[in-house]
Amino acid sequence: MSVEEGVFYVIAAFTVVGGMGVVFARNVVYSALFLILALLAVAGIFLLLSAEFLALVQVLIYGGAVTILVLFALMLTRVQDMPAALDSPQKPFALLAALGVLSIFILAAVGTDWPGQTEQINAIPLRDLGDALFRTWALPFEVASLVLMVALVGSIVLARGEEGE
C-alpha cells in the first residue's frame, strides 16, 4: 500500500465518521460540529484529487460560512431538545433506503467498465481552470453570480418579515 493510499484511507475514515456523526448524533449541536469535520475532510479528499482551488474554496465557504449559518439556524430555532423527537418513526425504512442506494452505488462504481483510464490522476493547472471558467463557461459563471445575488436578497426579504410585525 502506497503512502497516498494510506493518506486516502485516513481522510476517508474522517469523512465517514463525520457523516455518521451528522446523521446519528443525539444532540443537534454535535451534529453541526461533525458536519464541520466531514466538510474539512472532504476538502482533504479534494486535495488528494489535486483540485487545490476547490479544496481552498471548500474550506472558506463550507468550513466558514455554511457551518456558521447552520449553527445560527440551530440556535435560532431551538425548542427544548427532546432526543426522542430527533428521529422520525420511519427510521427503519430510511435505513433500508440508504442501504439500497449504497449497494447500487458500489455495484455501479465497481462493476462499470469506465471509458479511459482509472489509475492515474491528471492534475489540472489552476491557470487552465480559470481560463475555462472565464472563457468557455463565462455565461454560466455570470448566471451563477446572479443566482447567488437573487438568493441572498430573497433570504434577507424573507427573514426580515413584514412591517409592523
Binding site: 493510499e5 443537534v28 484529487l49 474554496v57 430555532t77 465497481v110 491528471n122 481552470l129 418579515g161
Partner: protein, 102 residues
C-alpha cells in the same frame, strides 16, 4: 496511485448517509445538513470523473464550482425559510409543518 473506484465508493457512502439523514431526521436544519452531505458526495464524484476520465475538458471541475455556489445560495435561503416557519408555527419540525397536506 489511488484507483478512481475508491473515490466513487467513498462518495457513495457519503451520499447514502445523506439519504438516511434526510429520511430519518425531523428537524428541518438537520435535514438540510444531510443535504449538504449529499452535495459533497456529488462534488467528489464530479471532480474524480474530471481528473481521471476527461482531463482535457475537465467539465466536472467546473460543475463542482457551480455546485458550491448553488449550495451557498441554498443554505442562505434555508436559514430564511426555516426562521420564517419557526416564527409562524413555533417549530422547525417538518412533521408538524403540514399546512398543505390534504
Amino acid at each position: 496511485m489511488i484507483p478512481m473506484q475508491h473515490f466513487l465508493v467513498l462518495s457513495g457512502i457519503l451520499f447514502s448517509l445523506g439519504v438516511y439523514g434526510v429520511l430519518a431526521r425531523r428537524s428541518a436544519v438537520l435535514i438540510l445538513m444531510s443535504v449538504e452531505l449529499m452535495l459533497q458526495a456529488v462534488s467528489i464524484n464530479f471532480i474524480a470523473f474530471a481528473v481521471y476520465l476527461s482531463p482535457e475538458a475537465f467539465v466536472g471541475l467546473i460543475f463542482a464550482v457551480f455546485v458550491i455556489v448553488v449550495a451557498a445560495a441554498e443554505v442562505g435561503l434555508m436559514l430564511a425559510i426555516v426562521l420564517r416557519i419557526f416564527r409562524n408555527r413555533g417549530t422547525a419540525n417538518v412533521d408538524e409543518v403540514d399546512l398543505m397536506r390534504w
